[in-house]
């Protein structure tokens, strides 16, 4: 499924976060949006899934303009999405198994036994075993991310969104998650949209990279194009230098 943002503007309390932003995410690829922290990456992601509506402009998922849909229709579209939150956002009143089963129970009519099978299969996909009865608070950060991904995959989504998937993890775990993202994309052939400020992992996983700066996409293209970009802001960001405003 294609994701398209057209002339999207959004400001909070007078502060402009997205300024006439245009971006087309290619279907069945991994697109990574990079940019500095607090630069509006999460806001962009929330626009894609309809948690935030743009002040002006429009957001298309496939052929549907979700920025103009009512809640009921929006909920229908959202069933095509899976999202992995920064801290996994697992429901801490439920076991791991119930967390993964939750979207399945909500939107399908599978029996208990069938759901158990799906949960086991999803956990296997993210490389976890024997954790169904554990509570989220008993898990490490990396395991929580994996469970979060398993939950995002529960309904076999066509679009998977990742909000800072490697933040707060040790380098080995980062690598493991990166591999998992790539593997998952290959396995499901879903459209993946990742936001990150981690340059190393970005180049490991991305088919396409977009750089968000000052509410705009200032550079978009293949990882190589970004690596050799002439744009000083992009250059500095990749080199890890702090950017002084002109």
């Amino acid at each position: 499924m294609k994701i398209e943002l057209l002339n999207v503007c959004k400001s909070f309390k007078g502060q402009v976060v997205l300024d006439n932003l245009n971006l087309t995410v290619e279907p069945n690829k991994i697109t990574v949006i990079i940019g500095k922290s607090g630069g509006g990456k999460s806001v962009l992601l929330k626009h894609v899934i309809g948690l935030i509506r743009p002040d002006s402009g429009s957001v298309f998922i496939g052929d549907d303009e979700i920025s103009a849909l009512n809640d009921k229709k929006l909920n229908e579209i959202r069933k095509n999405f899976g999202m992995l939150f920064q801290d996994a956002a697992l429901f801490d009143s439920m076991t791991v198994g119930d967390n993964i089963a939750f979207p399945i129970r909500e939107h399908t009519r599978f029996s208990k036994a069938e759901i158990d099978v799906i949960v086991k299969e999803k956990l296997r996909q993210v490389g976890l075993k024997r954790v169904t009865q554990k509570m989220p608070s008993e898990l490490s950060g990396g395991m929580r991310k994996r469970v979060g991904l398993a939950r995002a995959l529960a309904l076999d989504p066509k679009i998977i969104l990742f909000d800072e998937p490697t933040t707060g993890l040790d380098p080995i775990m980062c690598d493991a998650i990166d591999r998992l993202i790539v593997k998952t994309q290959r396995h499901t052939n879903a459209t993946c949209l990742v936001i990150s400020h981690d340059i190393d992992s970005t180049f490991k996983i991305a088919h396409k990279v977009a750089m968000l700066y000052d509410g705009k996409i200032i550079e978009y293209g293949s990882p190589d194009k970004i690596k050799w970009s002439e744009n000083p802001v992009v250059k500095n960001f990749i080199a890890g230098k702090s950017i002084s405003k002109h």
Binding site: E76, K79, M83, F85, L90, D92, F102
Partner: protein, 256 residues
């Protein structure tokens, strides 16, 4: 001058705005009540949390409220030889006022705060956003069951509190202060009308609505991490308690 008005008027505007938001939340809660799925299991889970688990604290507070009422009114009535009215006074106070109010305040402390904290935590850890992304409306999934459970369970807790309070008053009055047990009970039966009990229960249902709605509202609007959750919890208890006592006055004025 304008700044003065702004300074004075702003809290009022904010207050009215908050009130309006709570009412809107109530309207959307009601509208989610009548749409499937009905979340029966969630409602039962909340009923257990609000009702069954609050039983010990309600029994203890109810019993001691009835007992202390018996002692206090006994000394008053003894001055003019009306000790026999202690039972009726305890029963009327419990059913009409103290049963509903004390139960509501205890449940606010125990349940209202927990609602604010739980939903607040879910808000700051993006669990509520996660619900949205999974096409589950958090008002229906989180708030509606809590509101329904509170409205239904508060009257049940209150009737238990009423009964235990009267039993406590009986124990103190008859066993410790030697009031004739027959007269004690007869006066209760003579003075307490069914409407006293029923109106008390209606009040408690309203209190249940207030405490759950405020708790959920505060939790739902939480921002600013762990500190925000703490702030929401405290505010929900204070606002609920105050609203319960204020609405108690008006409900009593309308009903009795």
């Amino acid at each position: 001058m304008l700044r003065f008005f702004e300074y004075v008027g702003k809290p009022f505007v904010l207050l009215i705005e908050a009130f309006g938001k709570v009412i809107l939340l109530l309207v959307s809660t009601i509208s989610w009540m009548v749409r499937p799925p009905y979340r029966i299991h969630e409602i039962f889970k909340q009923m257990e949390f609000v009702g069954v688990n609050s039983l010990p604290v309600v029994i203890i507070t109810g019993a001691f409220t009835g007992m202390v009422l018996a002692i206090q009114t006994y000394y008053g009535f003894k001055m003019f030889g009306g000790e026999s009215l202690v039972g009726a006074t305890v029963a009327l106070s419990m059913t009409r006022e103290l049963g509903p109010a004390i139960t509501a305040l205890m449940v606010t402390g125990r349940v209202g705060s927990a609602m604010a904290a739980e939903i607040g935590t879910m808000r700051v850890t993006e669990q509520i956003d996660a619900l949205y992304t999974m096409s589950v409306n958090p008002v229906q999934y989180l708030i509606m069951p809590r509101v329904i459970a509170s409205i239904m369970m508060l009257p049940v807790l209150t009737i238990v509190s009423d009964f235990i309070g009267i039993v406590g008053g009986y124990f103190v009055g008859v066993r410790l202060l030697n009031i004739n047990s027959g007269i004690f009970v007869a006066r209760i039966i003579e003075f307490v009308a069914l409407s006293d009990i029923v109106n008390g229960l209606i009040k408690s249902a309203v209190f249940g609505l207030i405490l759950s709605l405020v708790g959920c509202y505060k939790g739902f609007g939480t921002f600013g991490g762990a500190a925000g959750v703490g702030r929401a919890t405290t505010q929900s208890v204070v606002i609920s308690s105050v609203s319960i006592l204020i609405s108690d006055y008006f409900l009593t004025a309308v009903m009795f």
